[in-house]
Amino acid sequence: MEFFRIHKDIPFMRHALTFNVISLVTFVLAVVFLFTKGLHLSVEFTGGTLIETHYAQTADLEKVRNALGKAGFSDYAVQNFGSSQDVMIRLPLKSEQNSNQIGEAVMKALEADAPGSELRRVEFVGPQVGKELAENGAMALLLVIIGIVIYLAFRFEWRFSVSAIIANLHDVVIILGFFAFFQWEFSLSVLAAILAVLGYSVNESVVVFDRVRETFKSKRGLSTPEVLDHAITSTISRTIITHGCTQMMVLSMLVFGGETLHYFAMALTIGICFGIYSSVLVASPLVMWLGVSREQFIKPKKVIEGANEDGAVV
């Protein structure tokens, strides 16, 4: 079986501008959603209490709400979590309340007015911790970017590292845009997924760049756009198969992983789809516009590399 029967190099670079405009529009939309709608942050970041309960029969959310109202809680959010029997209750931080007793207080209230529930999970996060988690998350993102830029600059060239990071950061913003638009819950595991995607799509760019470098060295007489076209074309089957495989795994998480892994898998899905697009079709034109050329790769070296037993010289 062979999916990709490509006769000639596909002239990707001819449409470079189009790709970048599409990507820019998506990016701007994402930023707009981020600013207008904002992220729906989980209790891990905002602080507060989250309680998950399980009923043997279909849960009556109205009853649960009444029970909480009666017990003197306010600003609570009650919703189903995964199935109709699971209920998630979210309570904001209250300074005057003894916050670490909330879990028991809620269960008592439910016992009285909406009985039959089983406590599955309580998460309480104080305001200080939430703030720190958010700060640490931002710090991790920043250092990941710096680390990748340095590594790529060291392994390739600054043009590659700059294009890779621009292309892939815009993926991150687009994922965030999705989370803002649909108001999906943004939790710590989603953050982990986003950072993992960042690494993963940079890895994608690296594969293409590797080919670009190799083509520059081995094929003379090709213009820069032609080199890029050749590199993308010859890696495109690998790109799609790899991402397809990863996506199969992520899809499996989406289907079998339950509510806890749902948004994690969701972030990965969006990341993988946009990752292909941006790391191939956005990063490469950027490299071209930044002025990459053969001279940057030809080193005045006489050593013949890659000679093996057969005497084949690369």
């Binding site: 599955r120 309480f124 911790v129 690296v206 990863t246 795994m249 499996s252 998480m253 806890t260």
Partner: protein, 625 residues
């Protein structure tokens, strides 16, 4: 040409065998067990304890499935939970004949049911996080300011003692915020006092202040002393938490310092979170102070203007009592607290034993205050309560004190437990809490397992159909990767959480990339007309650089997550990083070894099964040259 030297095959074989052995314990599941460990630092659980367990079980006619002694204590396995519960009762009676003063912790536990030889190789199942096995996780914030305040309070008592010993008259020692102010009537006394204090309290910075007719000496704690007190406070709190948790009977508690002022407490398998929280969060400390019984003072205090240096506390039962702010003695001076009964009234009581310094202070105070009342306060979460306020009849020496008064037997037990378990050096607040029910934990394992299983199956199917023999090899390499990853996680006993399982799944999904890269490269070389053997060799050689580059960038992300992540992110990051490392080995070395075994020996290899090959401009060839 595609042959590995023998040592490479042997390396791969050894790695696979080790991977298999260390993954094995995860398949045996767990069996119910009872764990006997020490509740006190002075008691060691050793071979003697082990034979005691053996004897106790034999006498009761309970058979066990194996016993082991490690740093946690003696663990005994049983075939079902009924036997386990019976055995727990038997051992509880044998080891703690006096239930009010437990010497040992007898707790229910789950032990790996893997055979002894695996356990002796330190091959243990993966250490499951709380979200997979159920339990409670607390993050406690230590109030450092509270620790300093407490220290200053006790220092002020010391200052009074110093001044009295030297016969220096002062007009009051008071704490004002974070400093102590000692007032004197004349300068000469102040100078003498200054020398005396400087000699006995090296942690204080002393400055002089004149305020009208008063001569003041202001003492503050040195910065390094503050730091030391903070460090001490957190250590003391951890010790106290250990003691309290021991009394709860949790099999494998985790109590760790996090950062400079936080403590993580994890209690796997604990279901009664309310009780756990109650015991942990209680910051009961004992204080002995004098009662101000001067006529009219209490009435004035209730009206809102308490005489200087006094405050109102309620007695058990509700009556208000005016108590001096000056603390005579704190719970730090306690060496033991036992519940019991008053020998005359048969009321429930707590018997306290003081250390020598405490006993001396107590003796002095009782001698000087005969026929006055002293209040014994129990302070919990900043709220104090007078347990009892007896009249001092005579001087009390020897350091043995009894508190009684309107206590039930269980209250006496609780009070004794809290006092005995030690007081917290500083108050703590719960800043993060996670409670996971056991059913949710089991659910999470199921979900994580199914995600990985079906994802793996889908990838395997595709790879085999698309790449044929090379696909089978890729899938085997991926399986080896999973084996190594689980073996490493088991070996390191890194905590596996649900995000960790997600990371395993993702690691597999990403690791296949390396094999796809290799296979595509081999196909490409074949398409370019290279003979199969050369194509295999070239494909692997050329793909390796790319694999390395792409994995390093992913590793950078993993490391950052590991450094900055906390909670679920860290669980993800650990597995993510390990997964990258194992994937490089398995996708490059293991898969190459397999390919070499299959194709490497054929000198005139005409064809490799890597799926249908298509060459631009020619008819379809089937991997044929």
């Amino acid at each position: 040409m595609n042959r590995y030297p023998l040592w490479k095959y042997i390396t791969v074989a050894i790695a696979l065998v080790l991977g298999f052995v260390y993954t094995l314990p995860n398949f045996f599941g767990e069996s119910p067990a009872v764990q006997v460990s020490s509740a006190k630092a002075t008691i060691k659980v050793d071979d003697k304890a082990r034979s005691r367990v053996e004897d106790a079980l034999k006498t009761a006619g309970i058979t066990h499935d194996g016993m082991q002694l490690d740093f946690n204590g003696v663990k005994t396995r049983f075939k079902d939970t009924d036997t386990q519960l019976k055995a727990k009762d038997v051992l509880e009676k044998a080891f703690n004949p006096d239930a009010s003063d437990p010497q040992y912790v007898v707790a229910l536990n789950l032990l790996a049911a893997s055979p002894q030889w695996l356990t002796s190789l330190h091959a243990l199942p993966m250490y499951l996080g709380l979200d997979l096995r159920g339990g409670v996780h607390f993050l406690l914030q230590v109030d450092m300011k509270g620790a300093l305040t407490k220290r200053l309070d006790s220092t002020s008592a010391d200052l009074r003692t110093v001044l009295r010993d030297k016969n220096l008259r002062h007009a009051g020692v008071n704490r004002e915020g974070d400093r102590l102010v000692v007032k004197f009537r004349d300068q000469e006394t102040r100078d003498k006092a200054r020398n005396a204090i400087a000699d006995s309290q090296p942690d204080l910075i002393l400055t002089e202040q004149a305020d009208g007719s008063e001569f003041k000496l202001v003492a503050t704690l040195k910065p390094e002393a503050q730091k030391r007190i903070g460090e001490f406070a957190i250590k003391q709190n951890i010790t106290t938490l250990h003691n309290r948790i021991n009394e709860l009977g949790v099999a494998e508690p985790v109590i760790q310092q996090q950062g400079t002022d936080r403590i993580v407490v994890q209690l796997p398998g604990v279901q009664d979170t309310a009780k756990a929280k109650d015991i942990l969060g209680r910051t009961a400390t004992l204080e002995i102070r004098m009662v101000d019984d001067s006529p009219g003072a209490l009435e004035a205090a209730l009206a809102g203007n308490a005489p200087f240096g006094t405050e109102v506390y309620n007695e058990r039962g509700g009556q208000p009592l005016l108590v001096k702010k000056q603390v005579v003695l704190t719970g730090d001076r306690l060496t033991d607290a036992q519940p019991g009964f008053d020998s005359q009234t048969q009321e429930a009581a707590v018997h306290l034993t003081l250390d020598s310094a405490g006993a001396r202070i107590f003796k002095d105070v009782t001698r000087e205050n005969v026929n006055k009342r002293m209040a014994i306060l129990l302070i919990e979460k900043g709220k104090g309560e007078v347990v009892t306020a007896p009249v001092i009849r005579t001087e009390i020496g020897g350091g043995r004190v009894q508190i009684s008064g309107r206590m039930t037997t269980s209250e006496a037990n609780d009070t004794a437990l809290l006092l005995r378990a030690g007081s917290l050096a500083a108050p703590m607040d719960i800043v993060e809490e996670r409670t996971i029910g056991p059913s949710l934990g089991a659910d999470n394992i199921q979900k994580g397992f199914h995600s990985t299983l079906w994802g793996f199956a889908a990838i395997a199917l595709f790879m085999i159909v698309y790449y044929q023999v090379f696909g089978v090899v890729s899938v085997l390499a991926l399986g080896a990767n999973l084996l190594f990853l689980i073996a490493l996680l088991s070996l390191l006993q890194a905590t596996l959480t649900l995000p960790g399982i997600a990371a395993i799944a993702l690691a597999l999904g990403m690791a296949i990339d390396s094999n796809v890269l290799i296979n595509e490269r081999v196909r490409e070389e074949l398409r370019n007309g290279m003979p199969p053997q050369a194509a295999i060799s070239e494909g692997y050689e050329r793909a390796f650089g790319t694999i390395l580059d792409s994995n390093v960038t992913t590793l950078i992300v993993g490391l950052m997550l590991l450094i900055f992540g906390s909670g679920p992110v860290r669980g993800f990051a650990v597995v993510h990083c390990l997964g990258i490392l194992t994937s490089i080995f398995s996708s490059v070395v293991v898969s190459r070894a397999l390919i070499n075994l299959i194709y490497g020996r054929q000198k005139k290899l005409a064809k490799v099964a890597i799926g249908q090959l298509w060459k631009p401009g020619t008819a379809t060839v089937n991997g044929q040259k």
